[in-house]
Symmetry: C2
Subunit: 81 residues, 2 copies
């Protein structure tokens, strides 16, 4: 499951896939973040206007964190050792 993203759409898609993989509903995320279900929906559908705080809250609820990497950069030897 690749969770690389350059766009809001890709971020929303990644969050939705992770949520489903956890077997959770948007309502579950809502309860864990105090964000409205509508807000989760909007984010998962790729709204680039979403605030960073909202994205981070959902990611925390899903147990995810960001890693910023060189565009298109795959694994490099230095990353391993």
């Amino acid at each position: 499951m690749d969770l690389t993203a350059r766009t809001a759409e890709q971020i929303g898609e990644a969050l939705r896939r992770t949520r489903k993989a956890r077997g959770w509903t948007q309502s579950d995320i809502s309860a864990r973040t105090n964000l409205r279900v509508a807000t989760i929906s909007s984010l998962e559908n790729g709204d680039a206007g979403t605030k960073l705080a909202t994205v981070l809250a959902v990611m925390a609820a899903l147990g995810l964190e960001f890693r910023m990497v060189e565009r298109g950069g795959s694994l490099e030897i230095e990353d391993i050792f």
Copy 2:
């Protein structure tokens, strides 16, 4: 240079470090994104209210992309093969 982030502060810090590593000024990023220097400043200083679109624009200008990973998750064998 580790660019892992769970908070807006860490994201801002990572963006600033990457920008400096490129030898660029906030003004350079501003020119490449059509965002105000003040907006870049705010983001680098960890404003969680920043819009996703703004973060993504700056990341694109820096040649970065997001990778969402399990919290605290380091490299796993499956990531390599």
